[in-house]
């Protein structure tokens, strides 16, 4: 018993301290991926990043806070999409609920692209340990913000981060026109 508590304490120190130092000083790059959206079209992260910052949200139809968060992110998406901001909602549903994804997405009125991750390859490459999990990536492909779970108000922090990114890396005028035409 004491051994276990010791072990837990040691692991806590080993794991938390180095990465708390890291989190303030090092920005990690986002793993690139190719995945299919609901219409079967291939989407590559690298290509999407050319248009502006991207927020990846890992979710599933059975995850209550995920649905809540994506409902709020839909409002954020409406506000910033014309400035180049994009959301990629990565669905990690298993075979039980995968057929309900399309009707749920449309039924709830979400406009952002939803990608399939049936074998959870993207989930694993981003080292996701629980959903909802959000990752905000700048146009250089660097992860600038990550967050696990959802609490009401989290979207306000995401909005601030997006505004900072759009100020630093504004979308060229021609791209803005393309987006607003869409």
């Amino acid at each position: 018993m004491r051994n276990l508590i010791f072990r837990f304490g040691i692991i806590l120190l080993l794991f938390v301290i180095p990465s708390l130092i890291q989190s303030d000083t090092k920005i990690s790059s986002a793993p690139n991926f190719v995945a299919k959206d609901l219409s079967g079209t291939k989407v590559e992260l690298k290509e999407v990043l050319k248009g502006g910052p991207v927020l990846i949200s890992f979710w599933a139809t059975w995850c209550k806070p995920c649905i809540k968060e994506l409902g709020e992110l839909q409002k954020v998406y409406k506000k910033y999409r014309e400035k180049g901001f994009e959301i990629l909602a990565v669905d990690v549903d298993g075979p039980r609920s995968i057929s309900k994804v399309r009707s749920m997405v449309k039924g709830l009125g979400w406009d952002f692209p939803v990608l399939w991750d049936e074998s959870k390859d993207i989930y694993r490459s981003y080292q996701v340990l629980g959903i909802p999990h959000t990752v905000l990536i700048n146009t250089s492909g660097e992860i600038v913000y990550t967050h696990t779970t959802y609490r009401p108000g989290d979207e306000e922090i995401i909005k601030k981060k997006i505004e900072e990114l759009l100020k630093k890396q504004p979308l060229p005028e021609e791209k803005q026109e393309e987006k607003s035409e869409k």
């Binding site: 051994n3 692991i11 180095p18 090092k26 057929s99 981003y126 340990l129 989290d154």
Partner: protein
């Protein structure tokens, strides 16, 4: 226990001063400083994560789980490793090992993995190898997997031996899965898997699927056949059909599904190789999932319908109907569920739902009535308070035995870092039978985000034992009367 992957390693010690923990210490510090200061780190990309769960119970043994994952990438190459320790797990088993390691090459049209991997063919009727830590389930394959993708064609070929519990079994499995895009609207595919299972003989599954995607409508159909020509302990053949269609437009979505599984169980007795859709709703609420239906691939058929309606931005409805019988048309499971959610001027959210469920797999052939209610009030931009009520009436033997279970929880959240939740559960089941245990359970949980990379959850109190289910697969979770810590870390 000696590592099977690295048999030359000495027995891994449990002491924190053991060679393993010293090596881990060195690795973590080396990894941290390398990624911070080394110019080589620009080309190499490393990431790691750790999931630690520890509970200290007054009545039972302590439970300790840890999964550490590491991924290294360079250009098109990727390698990964997982160390897993359970000392002991929920059932008293002790285990520690490098349970997952792989080397992978990925280009735009080609991927090759040597080592451990996961795979799903079609909708899981033939093969589904996956990990679900909540279910303590991991049936990864160890071998080789290749994928070719040319846009119109997609072919996956694999061979390997699966993991069953904590051991790797020596029943090699081979399989292939192909898809071809026929037109903008139609994709067709076929899958094949074979293995020779100890005591069950040679088993082969093959099938085909078709997917139609039209504007506002899509359809998917899959048929699978199982042959067991040399089998003595199981029937020689089986089959499965799965059909689904979705209709959707902005603000409305409808999904209809049909299943028919006859002797489709693909198992060695403990390990299940396939996991098709169970056509039951995966509820968000604890009590509604406590009597979840367990998939029976030997003999079941059924339907599910689910509709989502959002008539305006602040109001949404969801309804679901699931019905499963055996092939003698005897009802096994049914669930009628409806919920409505309303957002009042972004000040508060109200949600109410109701479920009427029958589950003939449970003792006493019960039916269940369950109203559920959620209320969230936004105190300010960052602070919110939420109240949740789940009430479940259970009636057995035509109503002669009736009792209820109830969960009430109050949650205070301060975005983005803190949640404090108090959960109370009580039951009157003790009135219906001999009862020696607790009648109510109270637990306080504090959830903290430590920076962006760590989430720590600490709970103190008691929690009732119960089933944890996902996708028709369930596991028993022991009761807790003490404390629990869960730490999720990413590096």
């Amino acid at each position: 226990m000696r590592s099977r992957i690295f048999p030359c390693l000495p027995e891994l010690q449990t002491s924190f001063l053991s060679p393993f923990f010293l090596a881990l210490t060195f690795f973590i510090f080396f990894f941290s400083f390398f990624t911070l200061y080394s110019p080589l780190a620009q080309d190499f990309k490393f990431s790691a994560s750790n999931q630690l769960e520890y509970s200290l119970d007054n009545n039972h043994k302590d439970i300790f789980h840890d999964w550490f994952d590491f991924i290294g990438k360079y250009d098109i190459y990727e390698a990964g490793l997982r160390y897993e320790a359970h000392q002991p797990d929920d059932f008293g088993n002790t285990f520690q090992e490098f349970s997952y390691r792989y080397f992978q090459v990925t280009t735009k049209s080609f991927q090759l993995i040597a080592g451990n991997y996961y795979a799903m063919f079609g909708r899981g009727l033939i093969l589904r190898s996956y990990e679900n830590r909540d279910l303590r389930l991991d049936n990864n394959l160890d071998g080789i997997k290749g994928n070719l993708n040319s846009g119109r064609f997609d072919l996956t070929v694999l061979a390997g031996s699966p993991r069953d519990g904590y051991k790797r079994i020596n029943d090699p499995l081979q399989g292939a899965d192909g898809k071809m895009v026929i037109s903008k609207w139609l994709t067709m595919g076929g899958s094949f898997v074979q293995t020779d299972i100890t005591n069950f003989g040679f088993i082969r599954l093959f099938g085909g699927n078709a997917s139609f995607v039209f504007p506002h409508l899509d359809l998917y159909a899959e048929y699978v056949r199982k042959d067991n020509p040399s089998g003595e302990n199981v029937e020689k053949d089986g089959e499965g059909v799965y059909l689904t269609s979705s209709f959707y437009q902005t603000g409305f979505g409808l999904t209809l599904e049909y299943k028919d599984y006859k002797r489709l169980d693909f198992t060695n007795g403990t390990l299940v190789y396939n996991n098709p859709p169970s056509l039951t709703k995966e509820h968000h609420y604890t009590l509604l999932n406590r009597n979840a239906y367990i998939l029976n691939l030997y003999d079941e058929k059924g339907i599910q319908a689910q509709a989502v309606l959002t008539p305006q931005e602040k109001l949404s409805f969801l309804t679901n109907y699931s019905y499963t019988t055996n092939h003698q048309n005897r009802m096994i499971f049914s669930d009628i569920y409806g919920e409505a959610e309303y957002d009042y001027k972004s000040l508060a959210t109200l949600k109410g739902g109701f479920s009427y469920m029958k589950n003939r797999q449970e003792v006493g052939l019960p039916y269940f009535l369950a109203p559920v209610f959620d209320f969230t009030y936004y105190l300010s931009g960052q602070n919110s308070i939420a109240f949740s009520l789940e009430h479940l009436w259970t009636s057995k033997y035509d109503g002669n035995l009736t009792y209820y279970d109830q969960i009430i929880s109050i949650d205070f959240a301060h975005s983005p870092n803190i949640s404090l939740t108090l959960t109370d559960e009580r039951t009157t089941e003790w009135k219906t039978r001999a009862w020696s245990g607790k009648k109510n359970w109270l637990i306080l949980s504090l959830d903290l985000a430590l920076g962006e990379k760590h989430n720590l959850t600490m709970s103190v109190g008691s929690r009732r034992a119960g089933k944890v289910c996902s996708g028709g697969i369930c596991t028993d979770r022991p009761a807790l009367d003490g404390g629990e810590i869960k730490l999720l870390s990413r590096f």
